[in-house]
Symmetry: C2
Subunit: 189 residues, 2 copies
């Protein structure tokens, strides 16, 4: 049995160093609210407001550390509320994605692209992937059992020595499956 | 291939005759905004506000005609926003479900139970069910294909000569699967 812990990602944002400065002031740094399952990653104490044509979210958590490019990850439900139409993409693949306005205590930034609905994926440490014969970019089928049991298809495998084993799904997927962080999923194909 | 059209149910409410009177005034009747896929059912022009401990929705569509008991059907995402914790239930099975406050132009009503997350289900006309060898209450597995393809397990079959063939899922399920009303699903088991 290939069991994988479930991690549910609520809407969140990654900021570039330049945008962090524009939103929080020159020289601003992120402070750690709590560490995440992936080594070195953390939820920051800092939040931003994101504003779309139809609606806004007042407090969107920033995940650190800073990244090369700013990326807002939301659910499809969030996208309807904001009035934007982001594509389903893997993290980092933001060319031609949706734009949004981001507001911080020291300023605001309008990004032309960077808003995505994150494609569900499993982080594998290299040793987990080798043990199970799974390769980077492979598409997997994963069962979330229960009253609202679902099988998620097209789950992307991401393999790295820097990763810890974790299935990342968004709140729509979690709610559709009645799943929560800490549940167990099973890779079935 | 057992193909079934998809119908996505946004949050909505069914009212009892007594509650309709309390919310819209004595003798009030629902007027038809548009007919639904199930024969005789309609979306009404009238809406209500629903208010939970954490949040509210200003305009929740009433579906008619009136029913014996008032029932609010919401997604899990909606439930978090309202601050209520409804069970996943089949329509009509509301004993011990969650409560909510409902506001209309002529008054308000607090219900002790009646708030549910609707269990996904397929309406079968008796002739469809016979043709495919499916019986009432049977649990089915249904594939929604695509980029975010999922297999929904525990989909309840509901068979009646009054029904038209339709898979009913909520907005969390639709968004998790990248599905919309009018798409086609396939019963696979």
């Amino acid at each position: 049995m290939k069991k994988v812990p479930v991690g549910v990602s609520a809407r969140h944002i990654h900021l570039s160093p330049a945008h962090l400065g524009q939103l929080f002031g020159p020289g601003a740094e992120l402070s750690v609210f709590k560490p995440l399952s992936q080594p070195g990653q953390f939820a920051a104490n800092e939040t931003v407001e994101v504003v779309g044509p139809k609606g806004s979210f007042a407090k969107v958590r920033i995940l650190g550390p800073v990244r090369k490019r700013t990326q807002l990850e939301i659910s499809r439900t969030d996208a309807f509320a904001l009035g934007v139409n982001p594509p389903v993409r893997e993290s980092g693949d933001i060319a031609g994605s949706a734009g949004i306005t981001i507001k911080g205590p020291a300023g605001e930034v309008a990004i032309e692209e960077g808003v995505i609905v994150a494609a569900r994926h499993i982080h594998f440490h290299t040793s987990d992937a080798e043990r199970w014969g799974i390769s980077d970019k492979q598409k997997l089928s994963v069962r979330l059992s229960g009253e609202r049991g679902v099988v998620l298809e097209n789950v992307v495998a991401r393999v790295s020595p820097d990763f810890a084993l974790d299935l990342h799904i968004d709140t729509d997927e979690a709610n559709a499956a009645g799943a929560k962080t800490g549940d167990e999923a099973e890779i079935i194909g």
